[in-house]
Structures are given as C-alpha cells and as structure tokens.
Symmetry: C2
Subunit: 350 residues, 2 copies
Amino acid sequence: MAEDTDTIAGAALTLKDIARQAGVSLATVDRVLHNRPGVRPDTVRRVKETIARNAFQPHVAAAELARGRPRRFAFVMPSGPNPFMQQIEAYLGEMSAWLAARRLAVELIATDVFDASVLAASLEALAGDYDGVAVVALDHPRVRAGINDLVDAGTRVVTLVSDVPSSRRHHYIGIDNIAAGRTAGALVGRLVGQKSGKVAILAGSQGLRDHAERIFGFSQVMASEFPGLGVLPVLEGRDEDDRSEQVLARLFDKHADIVGLYNVGAGTQGVANALSEAGRDRQVVFVGHDVTVLTRRLLLQGVMDAAISQNPGHEARAAVRVLLALARGEPILSEQEKIRIDIVMRDNLP
Amino acid sequence: MAEDTDTIAGAALTLKDIARQAGVSLATVDRVLHNRPGVRPDTVRRVKETIARNAFQPHVAAAELARGRPRRFAFVMPSGPNPFMQQIEAYLGEMSAWLAARRLAVELIATDVFDASVLAASLEALAGDYDGVAVVALDHPRVRAGINDLVDAGTRVVTLVSDVPSSRRHHYIGIDNIAAGRTAGALVGRLVGQKSGKVAILAGSQGLRDHAERIFGFSQVMASEFPGLGVLPVLEGRDEDDRSEQVLARLFDKHADIVGLYNVGAGTQGVANALSEAGRDRQVVFVGHDVTVLTRRLLLQGVMDAAISQNPGHEARAAVRVLLALARGEPILSEQEKIRIDIVMRDNLP
DNA sequence: GGTGTTTTGAGGTACGCAACTCATTTTGAG
DNA sequence: CTCAAAATGAGTTGCGTACCTCAAAACACC
C-alpha cells in the first residue's frame, strides 16, 4: 500500500483565471504577457504578481498552436568531412519525426567556419529569417560581431561545440575543454602507473581554441600530479592522418622511453599506424577524443586506452531544445543541457 | 557565404489535407487515426497509405490541447532514505515548471519496493487512475503480475533503475549492471597497475539483482584480464555504513596485500572509515558507485579513485519523456533515453 | 426489392492562447 | 473644466486536433 503521496505540478489555471483574479481583462493580461505597450506600470505589476502568486504557466500546446507560423532554426556547420559534425547532423536527422510533430523546421547550413569573414557573412545572411541559430563558431572579432547582430535582431543564438564567450550568445552547448584536457591527463597519468618515461601530445593546431585549452588542462595535471612523467613539446598534425603519422614516427625514433600519448584532435588513424609501425601499440598508454567507428575499434583492440567524449547526439538535441526553450521563453533545464565529459573505455562503450 | 543548405522536417499538412487527398471526410480520417470501429478495411488502408506517403505527423500541440484532460503519471519509489532516489525526486521537482507548462501531473508514491506483495498492492491501487507509471521494481512474480495488469489496463509502464525483464513493461530506464560491473573491474585492474595483490568486493546483498549483476561483470573482467589479481569472497554490508566498516576492518586485518576494492552498493562512509582506520586510504584503489555529496568529497580527496555513475537527473527526465511519448504514441528517441554508464573521476566531476 | 446494418459525410463544439479591432473609460495637461 | 492621449475592456477569429451527433449513403442478406 502507498504510504505517502506527493504531487509535482498540479494546478491548471488559464489566462482567464489570471485576468479575473487580477481584476483586469484578458486583453490586458495578454499585453503584459507579451510586453506590449499601453499598460500602466501599476497594472503591469498587479498582473505579474498574480501570475507569480499562482505560479501560472501558459499552456505551451495552446501557445504553440495559436502562434500559427512554424519556427525555423538554422545550424551553421563546417563544410568539411568532419566525422564528429557528421554525427551531429545524423542525430538531427533522427529527430525529424520529433521536429515535424512540433512543426519545427531545422536547416543545415554548411560553411567554412574556419574563415572568420566567410562565417561572419554566413551569419549575416541569416538575419531575420530564423527564430534561432546554432553555430559552430570560431572565436574571432568578426564572428563575435555577427553573433551579436543576430542577437540584437531578436534571433536566439547558441554556440555549438566551440564557444565565443565574449559574444552575447544565449547559450553554449559543448564541453569545458580545459576540464577535458585535465581528465585526459589524469587518465594517462593513472594508467601509466608506476612506470616512468615521457608523455607525448599531438594536436591539430595550437591555434584552435579548443585544442589549446585541452593542452593547457592536460599539462596542468601532468605538472602538478605526475611530475615524474616528462611532457614532450606539442606536435601538430593538422588533424590529418598522414601528417600525424609522420610526426609521431619521427618522435618514436628519437625517444625510446615514451609511456603515454595524448591525441588532442583528429588524425587518429595516423596515430594508430605510427604506434603499430613502431611496435609500441600495447606499451604506450594512448588517450584520445571522441567515439567514432575507428576509436571504437581501437578501444576494443586495446590500442587505445580511453577516449574523452562529448556525446554528439546530446549536443544536437540540446541545441534544438535550448533554442526552442529560448524562443518560447521557457526556463532551460540547465542540468539536462549541460554536456558532460565522458570517459569511454572498452567496457562502457556506448 | 552558405555553400549548401539542407532542411530537416518541412511540410506542415493537416488532417484536412489528408482527408482531401484520400478522398474521404475528416471524420473517417479521425476514425482511422484512433482505431475507432466502423471503417471498411479497404478505406482504412487507403487512409493509412495517404498518411504514410505524406509522412504526416499530427501536430502534437493541437492534439494535446484538444484532448482536454491533463495526463497523470505516477512514480513508485522506495520509501527509505536512499540518497540516489532522493536525487531522482529532486530532479523531478526541478522539472515542475516544465511539467506544468505541459499540464502534466506527476505524483510520487513512496512504498516498500523490497516487499513484493506490498509493491504489487501499490501497483494494483494505481489501476485506471494514471496514464503512465514509473516504478523502481523488484524482480518478483507478483510484481511482474502487477505490472502486466497495469499494461493490460492500458497504462504505460516503465521500470526505473531496476528492471523486471520478464514483465511486459514498455521500457526500462536504467543501466546495464553487468556492463557497469565490467567497467568497475577494468578500472580497478588498470588503476592498480603493475602491483600484485588481492581485490575485495563489498556488496549490499548478493540477493539484489543489480548487485549480483555488477559482481558478475566485475568478476568476469578480473578473471579474464587481470588474472594476477586474486578476488576475495564477496562481503555483504547491507548497504549500511556501520556494518560495512566492520566487515572491511576484519578483512583488512586478515589480508595485508589488498590493492583494490570495489564497493557495489551504498555504505560508502563505512568503507572510507575502514580504509582510513587501516591507514590504507591512499594505497588501495577504491572504486564505487554514484556521485553523491560523499563520493564527490572522497574523489576530491583521492580516497576514492573512480565512481561508476548513472545520472539520476537523466533517469528522472527520461522516465517522464518516455511515458509521455508512449502516451502520445510518438516514437521514442532511444539514443536519448538510454542511460549511460558514466566513469567519474576527480577531473570530470559533474 | 425491402430490410436492417454498416459505413461514411457533414458539421459542430471545445481546448487555451495569440493577435487583432474597436469602443469605452481613465488620466493628465492646459 | 475641456480635450487629447493613454489605458483598458469586450469581443472576434483562427490555430489543428479530439470527440461527438445525426443524417445520408452504401452495403449485405433474405
């Protein structure tokens, strides 16, 4: 038998109830609710108080139905063949039924996000046409200006994967890359164990904000917690397999005492090749990023020891949900939309 | 400039359009859509084909508004002071605005979920009153029958945290506990590193399905991948701090060579006490479950090395979303609702 | 062909809110 | 006090669906 019952969310007031209780007409409540002019400050306060006192929430279904026109969101994504971005797009595709049932139109716009002026121009072109924009953004003054212009025009903007903290974007959907680097550092250090030796870092480019932040966090942990492990200078592989393989091969030739390797960006296949060519794929602790077909295989084979991952499906859905909540004026479930830093090892592969 | 644009979810047909295209009236489409009787099989097929051909999706907002009565969901939870369950309840509370805006009423029902007949009776009492039920279920024939009865009565049922696979529940919201145990095993083994010695396991009770599964997965990994580490017989602490501390203290007395410890359930404070009393809190690799105030502190202090976690907020929200999708007849975003096994270490503490 | 039954059409109402018009009341300035 | 401007009330329409009624048409059976 039930011992105790507790109800979350009960009442079902309507605007009419609010109007009656505040002693005004429906029209006035509507004006207050939508910040329309022509209401005395005193009346505004009275209505708002009534709304607050009753914890009134407009019925989203009714509001959505009444507004008529569907909402349009744009996702501005890199045009290159980036597997992580392709995953995000795939997950957006999986939502199509969900989106359609809510009359939401999501458009993917491929552009060169690494060229600030091209990206800024892409953003400008969106002005007025969309209710919300999610953008994989380069942190550059022109991009920042483009984002701010959109915000000023009333468009809701979220940055995706890569942030522009100095802009007035409404939300950032992605991980804390410094913490991700720290996590990678802790994993490498702990998994290396008692052995001593050197640790290598391979990045795409130290000019990329997220890569730089990860390296920073990684180095921080290595210096403070694993002083016995020497960190070698950062190598750059431009996120390409061939180049990554070459620079690593050269490094392995020079250093026989490498016990750990942190791959900050892509080029994973190149890393794996270099490791196996050197015959070190089981001795070097190898930690990288993202769960892809390739990293999954490497984890299962034991070549890779752990992958730091941000869930692309989660990012896709969170971006849509946040844009929708912002557009509706609903509160955001911040706990839900926060992208976690996942540690993926062989046994908890998703 | 945008190079390429792709739209996900576009059309916005209505039932009227479907009716016209199928050459029938709105009433007939409505009958087909809701499986109401009085339509010739031939006509049903024609209408369904038209719906499929156009990938028509009823406007959820309109449907929700039209049905009038609000939806009621019940969460049947353990009545004891279980911190994990309290977190789930807290996260449900955080959703209250979200729930209210959708006119969803969620009721918490505390009961003794460890007593099969009490739990079964609680479930029976819900019949007919709710659109959906989430239950932390014991796997027992009477409970299974109770769940099946609810399902037969048209109520949507999801099991939460603990599953009853043999029942006809619509969905299970929780983790794969065998995989969780495997993950714990891999972590203990890897973090112990080169050292050799014994590994201890402390469970609440081996009679609990989730604990038994975790132990199974853990032992599996230890045996196959870390044969050098001997696993000691499983201790039982009934998830209580005092008892856990006692049994562990005795174990530490007997064995000087313990290098790893897996705490399967609760009683974490007792474990920490036993470790520090024995002066081994920095030498023994300690892996446990769930992120609470306590485990968070232990992780930061370095007493605990990793926590296997299932996100309680995610479970709360997933349960509500799945029940709602089931009630609406919407497809479930399975990727979204799947609860992941999180590895939480100091640097990726949420 | 007539009967009764099944199938279908036509139409209405309601849901809660957005957005609008127009008339009326209140307010403030002179 | 007068008059214009500001504030408010009252009301309408429409969004897309659920659910209902009643009449008309189509059908099956003898």
